[in-house]
């Protein structure tokens, strides 16, 4: 695209590509949105894995009835609790690894 050279003090010049008009504030906002998006993706993925894992660990596969047994209820509660602890431990390990790099 042909650009007519314009002086740096005239940012409203029409010949500038649209990208140059984006202020650094907008860029930071967009980066924040990307970060939040990644965070949400991560938590959704985590949730789905907990559901899957604790189902496999706790729920009897014979499916004699559709309600959860009391034992299964407790198991699921504890499973989620333990999974969360594992999440924290591994988070620490990865963080300290990153620091030592």
């Amino acid at each position: 695209m042909d650009r007519i050279p314009s002086s740096p003090s005239d940012p409203s010049e029409d010949s500038l590509p649209v990208a140059d008009k984006t202020s650094s504030v907008d860029l930071r906002k967009e980066q924040n949105l990307v970060t939040i998006e990644k965070e949400v993706e991560f938590r959704v993925d985590l949730y789905n894995r907990v559901v899957k894992t604790c189902f496999d660990k706790c729920i009897e596969k014979r499916y004699k009835e559709s309600e959860l047994y009391i034992g299964e209820n407790s198991c699921v509660d504890r499973c989620v609790s333990k999974y969360s602890q594992v999440n924290n431990i591994i988070g620490q390990i990865l963080a300290s690894q990153r620091e030592s790099m």
């Binding site: 990307v34 990644k38 993706e41 991560f42 993925d45 985590l46 894995r49 894992t53 496999d56 660990k57 706790c58 407790s74 198991c75 509660d77 504890r78 499973c79 609790s81 333990k82 999974y83 602890q85 594992v86 999440n87 431990i89 591994i90 988070g91 390990i93 990865l94 690894q97």
Partner: protein, 93 residues
């Protein structure tokens, strides 16, 4: 995973290099997060089998730590070999 694994970016024109670099950074972030979640799932599945209590016992905790460290070392080794293949370097027998 690092950029060396992806082969030669140097032959691209300058503007494409920038866009590729940004894209690769974003993919790496997503890959890191995914790896984190997979690692947690794997080590939990392999190390935790009883749910009589809601907190991890010492054995489970040790198992988890070893699992994570082992996986990371394994991952680095794979990355190393992968990069070697990409660069056409000779690999050990």
């Amino acid at each position: 995973m690092d950029k060396n694994m992806l082969g030669d970016l140097d032959n691209l024109p300058e503007e494409d290099k920038m866009r590729m670099s940004t894209m690769i950074d974003q993919l790496q972030i997503r890959d890191s997060l995914r790896m984190y979640n997979s690692l947690v799932e794997r080590c939990f599945t392999d190390c935790v089998d009883s749910f009589k209590r809601k907190t991890l016992d010492k054995q489970e905790e040790t198992c988890i730590r070893r699992c994570a460290e082992k996986f990371l070392k394994h991952s680095m080794r794979v990355g190393m070999r992968f990069a070697e293949l990409n660069q056409g370097a000779p690999t050990p027998d």
